[in-house]
């Protein structure tokens, strides 16, 4: 079967073409069937490839010559290795479930078929990306994935925010893409090849100077930073939530944003060869993890909370990779894909049932009204909070362990703190949505069945995937077999899982005290209004301490960081754009319509050329 792996991406491509051609004529059911059939075929084949790869741990490579550039042959083709197989499985599985879910979520949309067409295009690009054997091909599909994301974020063209978000996503990720492209060019220059295997061989043989390796690795990492929404290029990801929720679940939680992590993992030998690059990855990752987790505390839009959470979790994966935790990073990528997709789909169900309301201040009390969605959301929340024995617990543990064993104690401690915050903000979300009483104006409606069962499947995976690497290290061994990366299989110190579990529970408990029991401020965040110090204030003195000392300060930090995010980071981007547009204005002013001025500019240009380049020769 592995020989036919190249067919996997083609199913969604065919679906895309069919959907584009029949866009106007297809009914919703037919369009959804075509889209779902495409990814289902990919999923089946991916499973088959995965099973075969489990038995025969050798990579399969098939390429054909594409182009010769100055004696160097550039090829195109596929390479099926352990990481690729895993990604194939994750991407096609989540895609399949989201495709099914979207049948219900997008019901009644005017451009229903187009939506499926874009989703299929994205699936094609993403599946092709994980099969690419060389940097150029990765780059090509990397861009195509970005195009898919762009189209889908801006899918609701009637929303000005969606249009702005699509544009922003495109521009911001482009910064990363350019860095990645420079890395490719640099690699080509220094190695003379774009094949990953040859690049790795060159690194291993010491053909590349250490600083070159570092430069290439960091440039690749900047590309990953753009795609994976790491600081400081994360700003597009929360805005991208303007897209339809299935898109957020598939692209901006499970697959595309993980492509950055995938890229770092795919080029891991480059990073291993450069301690500086590893440091950069680790510190950027852990900073993003804590930074985004803090901001998530003060968000009021259900999807934005999850978006910042995604940024934070991707930061986890990055710092795992930076701490030599190759397996831990990939492991978390896998588990996160499932539980975050679950959370997003559940959030989508909540949004549907609240009649497209996304503000959590307008929700509440939904547990009673829709227990199924509530329990599914709870599973996702428990998984991300790291409660055993759900999948998130194992993968997060593995990450923290990697940081600890790598001797990165600061990273480790910050990671622990971020884990605590994660438990806190996700349960804040949970309690505000499902606890208390309903605060919205619109009546709550029911959720279509077709949206529920994909969530159930995801919930099963969110619960169970942790056990692929526990109690044995089967997953780790399989993943690294034959690719020369050492998996850490040292035994876990007993205090780590225990401590983490306790910390998660404290976080959940605090969220319950503050938001579940409704004992403190019911008023919204970001508006520090007068608190209802009633009689209760005395009674819950402890809560007040918590609130004042701990939560307030964290919230304050969150607000400060949010402001930093909005004004400094975005301001920088705006400043550069301003300078460029100012230059454009000057150029435009010079173009005053007067032919004589144009000739004068040319004459001055000639004089400048003479003076700057030939003065020494002409006027000796």
């Amino acid at each position: 079967m592995i020989k036919f792996a190249w067919i996997i991406p083609l199913f969604p491509l065919v679906a895309f073409l069919l959907l584009m051609i029949g866009r106007r004529k297809l009914s919703e059911g037919a369009a959804a069937s075509i889209g779902v059939a495409g990814v289902l075929a990919s999923l089946s084949l991916s499973v088959a490839v995965f099973l075969e790869r489990l038995q025969s741990p050798s990579n399969y490579v098939a390429t054909f010559d594409w182009l010769r550039i100055d004696q160097v042959m550039v090829t195109m083709g596929i390479e099926v290795d352990a990481l690729g197989t895993l990604m194939l499985l994750v991407v096609s599985l989540v895609s399949f479930l989201v495709f099914v879910y979207a049948r219900g979520y997008m019901r009644g949309d005017q451009r229903f078929s187009t939506f499926y067409a874009y989703l299929s295009l994205f699936a094609f690009a993403m599946l092709s990306l994980v099969l690419s054997p060389n940097l150029l091909q990765i780059y090509l599909f990397w861009e195509l994935v970005g195009v898919g994301s762009f189209l889908l974020i801006g899918f609701w063209t009637f929303k000005p925010e969606a249009k702005a978000a699509a544009k922003k996503a495109f521009v911001v990720t482009r910064i990363g893409d350019v860095a990645f492209f420079v890395a490719i060019l640099l690699t080509f220059w220094k190695v003379g090849s774009l094949e990953l295997s040859q690049v790795f061989a060159a690194v291993e043989s010491g053909q590349l100077a250490p600083e070159i390796v570092t430069t290439i690795a960091i440039l690749i990492f900047i590309g990953a930073v753009g795609k994976s929404g790491q600081f400081p290029l994360h700003t597009w990801l929360p805005d991208a939530m303007e897209g339809p929720t299935p898109v957020s679940a598939l692209i901006h939680a499970a697959t595309m944003v993980a492509a950055g992590v995938y890229l770092v993992a795919r080029t891991y030998p480059l990073f291993l060869a450069s301690p500086i690059a590893m440091d950069v990855v680790a510190y950027v990752g852990v900073f993003t993890a804590i930074f985004a987790a803090t901001i998530a505390l003060v968000q009021n839009d259900i999807k934005r909370v999850l978006a910042y959470s995604t940024v934070s979790q991707l930061g986890y994966m990055m710092f795992a990779l930076g701490s030599a935790g190759y397996v831990a990073g990939i492991f978390h990528l896998t588990t996160h894909a499932f539980f975050k997709a679950l959370l997003f789909l559940a959030a989508g169900a909540v949004i549907v049932s609240c009649q497209r309301q996304q503000d959590i201040r307008q929700m509440g009390g939904l547990w009673a009204k829709n227990r199924t969605v509530g329990s599914l959301f709870l599973i996702g929340a428990l998984a991300i909070a790291g409660v055993p024995p759900l999948s998130g617990f194992f993968s997060k543990d593995a990450i923290l362990l990697a940081a600890y064993q790598d001797g990165r104690y600061i990273v480790f401690l910050v990671g622990v703190l971020a884990a605590f915050l994660t438990a806190f903000y996700v349960f804040r979300l949970f309690f505000l949505i499902f606890g208390g009483s309903y605060r919205g104006k619109e009546p709550v409606v029911s959720v279509p069945k077709v949206m529920v069962w994909p969530m159930i499947i995801l919930a099963v995976f969110a619960v169970a995937t942790g056990f692929v690497n526990f109690p044995t290290d089967a997953f780790a061994n399989w993943l690294v077999e034959g690719n020369g990366i050492v998996a850490q299989t040292a035994s876990t110190p007993w205090w780590l899982p225990v401590g983490m579990t306790i910390l998660s529970i404290i976080g959940i408990a605090m969220a319950w005290i503050l938001y579940g029991k409704r004992s403190v401020a019911v008023s919204s965040f970001g508006e520090p209004g007068p608190l209802p110090y009633r009689l209760l204030a005395r009674k819950y003195y402890v809560d007040e301490i918590y609130d004042r000392v701990f939560v307030r300060s964290l919230k304050g930090l969150g607000l400060i960081l949010q402001a930093f995010d909005r004004f400094i980071i975005e301001g920088l981007v705006k400043g550069i754009a301003g300078i460029i547009s100012w230059l454009g204005r000057i150029g435009s002013r010079l173009q005053n319509g007067q032919a004589q001025s144009y000739v004068l500019v040319s004459l001055i240009g000639l004089i400048l050329l003479v003076v700057s380049f030939t003065a020494g020769r002409l006027l000796k």
């Binding site: 010769r68 495109f170 240009g605």
Partner: protein, 500 residues
């Protein structure tokens, strides 16, 4: 003993002879016809002539290099490739013009076709000559025919004004070229490029290098005018906007191709051999060309950000593309074994020109349809195109994506290839500027895409797409995507040719 001029192999001039005969024939037919008669067949005849000339050119490949009359006419692989490009571009323009018969875009139908053919003839002569006099005459045929073409829609002020600006600045450029050529002649006593090259070597050693540079710089001013690159680029936006759209396409595609070939021919055949061996080329000429290229990239892309008229926007884009095209030209002699590396550099120029031709004619064809429909070339005219005609919007997006250099299109690969050139010669900062300006360009190309996809249409009437334009768009799309996926065919073909 001197060869009698009848002894030369005149058959190699068949393509030019075909076009020239067509010009004369159509001119006579047009004059004899009555005013109200249908002139569509003139367009068909000219299309036929161009295709016949193209076939004749294609048969020329693989033969020995032929030289007539001391280089006043030269047929080698270089000229054949560029002639194919010129004829291909003309074919696409004729196809788009043919379907405009009924519109008022062109008031004088018969004249349009034979003037276009005459301009094409000028371009072909330019690329197929190794003699300054022939080069000059070819250049002037192209220029004068273009001046007239630009001004043909004389009922409209902007058309005539554009023609006026074009003729004034074009004549100044001609004066500079001619003045530069006079010094070149004075130094070498010959107009034959091979002789010139030999003697430049001698006179540069003999202490006349300042005259060599003077001639080069004066000519460069003229060259940059023809190629619409800095510092003599400022005519382009005004003229592109004012000219009838098929003529704009001609200026952007065919005229630029001929100009690039012209620059290549003179620099490489006349100056390079003399200056290279003394290191002067790398020290001076290469740097001047890089400065021109960099300035064009920056000016074109930055000022384009402010444009709201699609034709002006594409004009600035074409200035930027001229900059990209000059990069391999500037760098190709910078490596020690430049003769070996040459084919890579020529490959990238020819590939880029081909990609540029396909995507630009395609984009202008879509623009023509929009212009017919809305009587407007502002980018607002594209609003909601996706709703009204999705395929047209998708085709336009492909062209724009390719112009912006995003994969998987010919434009991306062309830029990638040029970047590799820059990297092969270790010129990283040129590569850097190229990348940065490319990123800036995304913004304005996406401005049009945003209009098409994200803005509501102002009217819901279906857009009719005439057959000729549809063919051009389909060719453009297939070419842009096909070359992006399979650049190998073109590149291997081009690199397989003998460039000396």
């Amino acid at each position: 003993m001197e060869t009698n001029w009848l002894d030369y192999d005149w058959s190699v001039m068949l393509p030019e002879a075909t076009i020239a005969a067509a010009v004369l024939l159509l001119l006579v037919i047009d004059m004899l016809m009555k005013k109200e008669q249908d002139r569509r067949f003139i367009g068909l005849l000219s299309l036929f002539a161009v295709l016949a000339a193209g076939v004749a050119v294609a048969f020329g490949f693989g033969k020995e290099q032929t030289l007539i009359l001391d280089g006043s006419y030269l047929v080698d692989d270089f000229s054949l490739v560029f002639k194919l490009l010129i004829l291909g571009g003309t074919t696409l323009i004729l196809l788009s013009a043919l379907s405009q018969e009924k519109s008022k875009e062109i008031d004088y139908k018969g004249e349009f076709y034979y003037l276009l053919l005459a301009a094409t003839l000028g371009g072909m002569v330019m690329v197929s000559s190794a003699d300054l006099i022939t080069l000059f005459v070819g250049l002037e045929i192209l220029s004068i025919a273009s001046y007239i073409l630009v001004g043909m829609r004389k009922k409209r002020l902007e058309s005539v004004e554009a023609a006026w600006k074009y003729v004034v600045m074009g004549s100044v450029a001609t004066a500079f070229i001619l003045y530069g050529m006079s010094f070149l002649y004075g130094l070498t006593g010959s107009t034959n490029l091979d002789v010139v090259a030999e003697r430049i070597f001698e006179v540069t050693r003999g202490g006349y290098d300042s005259f060599v540079y003077l001639s080069l710089l004066l000519m460069l001013v003229g060259f940059t005018f023809k190629a619409a690159s800095a510092p003599f680029h400022m005519w382009a936006p005004d003229v592109y906007q004012g000219a009838p759209t098929p003529v704009t396409t001609f200026l952007a595609v065919v005229s630029k191709t001929a100009a690039i070939a012209f620059i290549l021919r003179i620099l490489r055949n006349a100056y390079l051999p003399g200056l290279w061996s003394m290191g002067e080329w790398q020290d001076v000429v290469s740097k001047i060309l890089i400065a021109i290229a960099v300035a064009s990239m920056i000016i074109g892309n930055v000022v384009a950000l402010r444009q709201t008229n699609t034709k002006r926007l594409l004009a600035y884009s074409s200035i930027a593309h001229a900059g990209y095209l000059l990069v391999p030209l500037a760098l190709f002699a910078s490596i020690p074994q430049f003769i070996v590396g040459n084919d890579v550099f020529f490959g990238s120029i020819v590939y880029y020109l081909l990609a540029y031709m396909l995507m630009t004619t395609g984009a202008f064809a879509v623009l023509t349809i929009i212009e017919r429909d809305r009587q407007d070339t502002d980018i607002r005219a594209f609003a909601g195109l996706y709703r009204r005609s999705p395929w047209l919007a998708i085709a336009m997006s492909i062209f724009l994506i390719s112009l912006a250099g995003i994969p998987i299109t010919a434009g991306f690969f062309g830029k990638f290839y040029i970047l590799l050139n820059a990297i092969i010669v270790r010129n990283l900062w040129v590569a850097g500027i190229m990348m940065v300006t490319t990123v800036i360009s995304y913004y304005y190309y996406f401005g049009i895409i945003r209009q098409m996809f994200f803005r509501p249409p102002t009217e819901s009437k279906k857009i009719s797409i005439p057959l000729g334009l549809a063919i051009v768009i389909v060719i453009g799309v297939i070419g842009t995507i096909g070359l992006g996926i399979m650049p190998k065919w073109v590149i291997e073909f081009v690199e397989g040719l003998s460039w000396y």
